[in-house]
C-alpha cells in the first residue's frame, strides 16, 4: 500500500509533465479564443478591436466553407473505407501460414515510415505525372488516354496517396487483433462445415469490431488534420482545400488571424467530438 510519503513523491514526479501539458493546452487555446473575437490583421492595421461572433459567422458563411467541409469529409471517409476494408483483408491474408511472413510484413508496413512530404511528392511526380508518370505509361500501354491525376481527379488522387500511407497502420493493428483470435473456435466452425463467408461474418468480424473502431477513431483524428499531402501536391487547388488547409490559408497566407482563429475553434470542437468516443473506449480498457 502506498504511504503518504510516496504519494507526495508521486505527485512531485507527475508535476513537470502535467504542468507542461496544461500550459501547452491552455496558453495557445486561450490565445486562439481571444483572437477569434477580434478583427486582427497583422499586416493591415493589426488589432482592430472586438467584433463579437462576427468571425464565427463569416467563417461558416464564406463561399469556401462548405466546399472545405465536403473535401474534408470525402478525404476522411474515403481513406477510412479503403484502409479498413483492405486492412481487414490484408490482416486475414498475413495471418495465414506462409513462407517469408516476416519479410512480407515489412514490405506492407514500410509506407507508414515514409514522411508525408516524400510520399506525396513521389506519388505526384513519379506516378501521377500525366506525361512521364508510371500510371501514364500503364494507361498508354492499355491504349487509354493518360489522366492528369491531380487536376482532373484531384480528390481521388489525394485519397489514394493518403490511403497508401495509412493502410499499413490499419493492417498492423487489425493483424495484431486477429492474431489474438482463438484458432480452435475457427477450427471447430470449419469442422462443423461453416462456409468461409459465414465464418468471417460470425467469428472474425465480431472479434475485430473493437480494433476496427479504434482504427477508425485514431485515423479520423490524424486524417482531419492532414496537411503536408495537400501542401506539396495541389496547394489546396482543384477542390482539395480541406478545413485544416482553409484555416492555414486564412491564418498564414492571408494573415486574417481573427477569421482563422474562429475556424480553429471549429476544428477543435470537431476533433473533440471524435476524441470523446475514442477516450471512452480507451478509458474502458484502463479499468480492465
Amino acid at each position: 500500500m502506498a504511504t503518504q510519503h510516496s504519494r507526495s513523491v508521486a505527485r512531485l514526479m507527475m508535476a513537470p509533465a502535467v504542468v507542461l501539458l496544461l500550459g501547452w493546452m491552455l496558453v495557445p487555446l486561450t490565445m486562439t479564443l481571444y483572437f477569434s473575437f477580434k478583427k486582427y490583421l497583422p499586416l493591415r492595421g493589426g488589432d482592430l478591436g472586438w467584433v463579437g461572433f462576427d468571425n464565427y459567422i463569416r467563417f461558416v458563411s464564406s463561399s469556401a466553407f462548405w466546399p472545405a467541409v465536403q473535401a474534408t469529409l470525402v478525404i476522411v471517409g474515403g481513406v477510412l473505407v479503403i484502409t479498413v476494408v483492405l486492412g481487414v483483408l490484408m490482416a486475414m491474408l498475413l495471418d495465414q501460414p506462409m513462407w517469408g511472413q516476416g519479410v512480407v510484413r515489412i514490405l506492407v508496413i514500410a509506407p507508414f515510415f515514409v514522411m508525408p512530404t516524400v510520399s506525396a511528392l513521389v506519388w505526384k511526380n513519379m506516378f501521377m505525372d500525366p506525361v512521364n508518370g508510371l500510371l501514364a505509361h500503364l494507361w498508354r500501354f492499355f491504349g487509354a488516354e493518360p489522366i492528369s491525376w491531380l487536376s482532373e481527379a484531384s480528390m481521388t488522387s489525394i485519397v489514394m496517396i493518403v490511403s497508401w500511407q495509412w493502410l499499413p497502420f490499419a493492417t498492423l493493428i487489425l493483424l495484431t487483433a486477429i492474431q489474438s483470435l482463438d484458432s480452435e473456435q475457427l477450427e471447430a466452425a470449419e469442422m462443423d462445415g461453416a462456409p468461409p463467408l459465414k465464418r468471417f461474418y460470425h467469428i472474425i468480424l465480431p472479434h475485430l469490431s473493437r480494433a476496427i473502431t479504434i482504427v477508425i477513431l485514431i485515423q479520423t483524428i490524424f486524417l482531419l488534420s492532414i496537411f503536408a499531402e495537400i501542401f506539396v501536391t495541389t496547394g489546396g487547388a482543384f477542390g482539395t482545400r480541406t478545413l485544416t488547409y482553409l484555416i492555414f490559408q486564412r491564418v498564414l497566407e492571408s494573415q486574417n488571424v481573427g477569421l482563422g482563429s474562429a475556424g480553429g475553434v471549429y476544428a477543435i470542437i470537431l476533433a473533440n467530438i471524435v476524441a470523446i468516443f475514442l477516450m471512452r473506449i480507451v478509458g474502458k480498457n484502463l479499468d480492465a
Partner: protein, 276 residues
C-alpha cells in the same frame, strides 16, 4: 492442435501475400531504383526496371544543390532532442502513475491523451506568434520543445503501459527488505523498464522525424529538417525525377531501417495501449 495446412494452400498464400506486399512496397522500390538512373533513363518509355546503367550522380547533385547533411543534422537534433526531453519528463510521471496509482490517475491519463487531440491548425497562430516574440522561429530549440509537447502524451502512455506490466510484488518485496525509493528505482525498476523505454524512444523518434506540420510552418532556413528539404522539390524544374528520387531515398532511408525494428511498438504506441 496445430492446423494442418497443405503445402498447396501454403504456396498459394505465399504467392498472393508476396504479390500484394510487393505491390504496396512498389512506390518505395521504384523511388530507390530511379535514384540510380540518369534523368533521361528516369523518364524512358517504356520504363526501365533493372536494365539501366546504375549511377550515383544524383546523390552528388542533390548534396550539392541543397546541403543534405545540414537538413539531416537538423532532423536528428529535432527528433532526437524532442524524444530525449520527452522521455526525461515522462518517465517520472509514468512511474508515479503505474506504481502509486490514485483515484485520479485514470483521469490524468485520459486528460493527457485529450491534449493530443488538439488539432495543430487550431493553435497555429498563437504558437507562431509566441515563436516570433520569443525569437524561436526557425530555431531547432523551438521545434524540439513543440515536438516534445505534441508527443508527450504518447510517451507517457506507452511508458505507463510498459511499467504496468512490471509485477508490483517485486516492489513490495523490496520495500519489505527496507529498500529506499532511490534503490527501488535504480536497482529494480530501471533494469526492468529499459526495454519499454527503448521501444518508446524508437517510436517517438520516428514520429518526430516524420512530423510535417510544425516543421514546415515554423522553420525557414536554419532549422529546416528533412521534411522541409523534400518540400523544396515540390515545384518541378525540368527533368528532376532522378534527383527527386535520390533526395527522397536519403530522407526516408534512416527511418525505414529504424521503423522495421519498431513494428510491435507501433501498435501499442499509436493505440494508447488499447490494442496489444
Amino acid at each position: 492442435m496445430a492446423r494442418a495446412v497443405t503445402t498447396r494452400r501454403k504456396s498459394f498464400n505465399t504467392a498472393l501475400a508476396w504479390a500484394v506486399g510487393l505491390l504496396i512496397f512498389f512506390p518505395i522500390l521504384w523511388t530507390i531504383l530511379t535514384s540510380f538512373k540518369t534523368e533521361a533513363q528516369a523518364i524512358a518509355s517504356p520504363p526501365l526496371f533493372l536494365n539501366f546503367n546504375w549511377t550515383l550522380e544524383n546523390y552528388a547533385i542533390v548534396q550539392e544543390r541543397s546541403d543534405y547533411m545540414r537538413f539531416l543534422w537538423n532532423s536528428v537534433i529535432i527528433a532526437g532532442g524532442s524524444t530525449l526531453l520527452g522521455v526525461i519528463v515522462a518517465v517520472p510521471a509514468a512511474w508515479a502513475m503505474a506504481f502509486v496509482p490514485s483515484k485520479r490517475t485514470k483521469d490524468i491519463l485520459l486528460w493527457m491523451l485529450s491534449t493530443k487531440m488538439l488539432p495543430a491548425v487550431g493553435v497555429l497562430y498563437p504558437i507562431y506568434l509566441l515563436f516570433i516574440r520569443l525569437g524561436l522561429l526557425d530555431t531547432r530549440g523551438g521545434l524540439v520543445v513543440v515536438l516534445m509537447l505534441i508527443n508527450l502524451p504518447i510517451i507517457v502512455w506507452m511508458l505507463y503501459t510498459y511499467f504496468r506490466e512490471i509485477p508490483g510484488e517485486i516492489l513490495e518485496a523490496a520495500r519489505m527488505d527496507g529498500a529506499t525509493l532511490k534503490e527501488e528505482i535504480l536497482h529494480i525498476l530501471t533494469p526492468m523498464a529499459v526495454p519499454g523505454i527503448a521501444s518508446t524512444v524508437l517510436l517517438n523518434f520516428i514520429l518526430a522525424w516524420n512530423e510535417a506540420f510544425w516543421t514546415l510552418n515554423l522553420t525557414a532556413v536554419d532549422a529546416a529538417p528533412l521534411t522541409a528539404f523534400i518540400a523544396s522539390y515540390s515545384s518541378p524544374e525540368g527533368l528532376f525525377f532522378a534527383k527527386l528520387s535520390a533526395a527522397s531515398t536519403m530522407a526516408i532511408a534512416p527511418i525505414l531501417i529504424l521503423g522495421w525494428f519498431s513494428q510491435k511498438q507501433l501498435v501499442r504506441g499509436l493505440t494508447f495501449g488499447a490494442v496489444k
